[in-house]
Symmetry: C2
Subunit: 222 residues, 2 copies
């Protein structure tokens, strides 16, 4: 009987994996805020409580989603020097985090990291130690790099514009909003941004990244 319904609706059985994937795409589209068990269940043509056979509760769901996202980040490739490997990983991480902007503040999950996470950490530390870092220095380096990466993603997420095209417009209205005498330096900065057309915040990423990587290299060889 139920089987017939399933067949009619063209329903594949649920699974933690399918649920997590659907949840991620849903969050990508509408934000995590508006992701509810009910809407998620609807995606599968299923009653909300059905999800709870595969997921302990909403927190568990979100933990799983975060794990999926972090699984998308490339490991530092082997076969190159640590610097380009870590650089590549950083770029991948930024891409992934900007694809799943909702995941950024959410790393409470990592209180109990999944295997995906652990494997990634292992890869990174391996890359660094093989590149000549002591364990202690590797910790320093890893912490510095990831802080920068997540922080950048965080800032990028909360800019008052979404597309590069909007930058000028937003900047203009900001300038007109407040008397530039109140915030002279800020006003000058905004003017500069308007001036050099095609400025994108995303381009800032590599500047800071290289600052850190170069700094690490310097303390390494010392």
């Amino acid at each position: 009987m139920q089987k017939q319904v399933d067949a009619e609706v063209g329903r594949t059985p649920l699974s933690r994996d399918r649920i997590l994937r659907a949840a991620v795409t849903l969050a990508d589209k509408d934000g995590l805020e508006s992701l509810s068990m009910r809407k998620l269940a609807q995606q599968f043509g299923v009653v909300p409580m059905a999800l709870y056979k595969h997921v302990a509760n909403k927190d568990d769901l979100v933990d799983g989603m975060v794990d999926v996202v972090f699984g998308e980040i490339d490991h530092p490739p082997s076969g190159t020097d640590w610097k380009t490997a870590m650089r590549q990983r950083a770029l991948s991480a930024r891409q992934v985090l900007s694809r799943h902007r909702w995941a950024i503040g959410l790393t409470e999950s990592r209180m109990k990291p999944g295997p995906t996470n652990l494997r990634h950490h292992d890869s990174v530390i391996r890359c660094l130690t093989e590149g000549g870092f002591s364990i202690e220095m590797a910790i320093h380096a890893y912490s510095a790099l990831d802080s920068y990466i997540y922080g950048f993603a965080l800032q990028e997420q909360q800019l008052p514009f979404e597309n590069p095209g909007e930058v000028d417009e937003v900047a203009q209205t900001m300038l007109s909003q407040f008397p530039s005498d109140d915030y002279p330096y800020l006003a000058q900065t905004i003017a500069e941004v308007i001036n050099k057309s095609e400025w994108q915040y995303a381009d800032e990423f590599e500047f800071g990244l290289d600052l850190i990587l170069d700094g690490l290299e310097r303390v390494l060889v010392r």
Copy 2:
């Protein structure tokens, strides 16, 4: 009549400011997750809807809370070189963010920054340009530093332990949890952490911070 009630209960009139402060301390105590309009209203012995005379809705409330928090961050002090000034600001920011851990992921508020925020930005840019940075370089520097600061706070917030005392314990259970053959480098790292007693993640902050500051100095004088 109402006045009598107010007097009996010892009630001062509400105000946006009082509400925001109460909300912040409440969030500090129990986390933002469990901050509800009802609980907040209860703090004042008032019905939930009363708050809406001073606050547009919960988003507006949170925006206000974030603004309060960012107002606590020291501006870069004038009268010193840019490097120590910016260093001091960074330390202050970290302190504030670790005092209000809930505020870290929440900067969607800054989509419409309050005056507090604008004034702070102005201060920072001023500090940098007076220190010899071009506007373009100041943007680079500001972005790099703040990305690092927020990212570090984010990471710190989501560590699997709260007090330095727990570090060893957590590390031990982690080590025993997974076969160290699966994650050899990670295992080695954890062992190292256990080994050097009194390791605190907080100490990592200054390493990365100085990495960035030194890097900035170098590109400045170049």
